[in-house]
């Protein structure tokens, strides 16, 4: 089953924003931005693995991440270059851990 990683230019902005507009997914994106490539299982943010898989799917289909198989795991990475090119400043604005809550 192909990962279905769309061309970023074909993804509506609202989908990109919607993908980032979730706490769990934002944590995943932040972890990826800091640690680079990581296995799906490394994101334990208090949700079941079914939910985690769901969120990774949303991120992938919004064009935010790429996934590749590696043995029994799957490695996920941020499509940072493409994102920074198409939406300069977006990731930077969102990735910094803000003081409020």
């Amino acid at each position: 089953m192909e990962p279905h990683e769309p061309d970023l230019t074909a993804v509506p902005v609202t989908s990109v924003l919607a993908a980032l507009a979730d706490d769990v997914r934002l944590q995943i994106v932040r972890a990826l931005a800091e640690g680079g490539e990581a296995a799906c299982g490394s994101f334990d943010f208090g949700v079941s693995k079914a939910t985690r898989s769901h969120h990774l799917k949303v991120l992938r289909e919004a064009g935010l991440t790429r996934t590749r198989a590696a043995g029994t795991s799957r490695l996920v990475r941020l499509r940072r270059d493409e994102l920074d090119t198409l939406y300069p400043g977006l990731l930077d604005a969102v990735l910094t851990e803000h003081p409020p809550a």
Copy 2:
């Protein structure tokens, strides 16, 4: 009835992103970015006035806009300075009409 315009630093990033992750609201924000202050009624994007009012409320409560009464109308404006300070690059990245669809 108070407009309930929160301190931007008190609004979770996900709420700001969620507010922008809607086509109608994004059109409103773009119109505001281009035309400055505008009356609620000037945003006719194919939705009823009830729906429009709802979207403006979402934007206001996410800290994206400010509203002030002006006679029988209400004038809305983008909180651009605050947004650019707290999330530099966010608006710029999102406001430019992208080619995709």
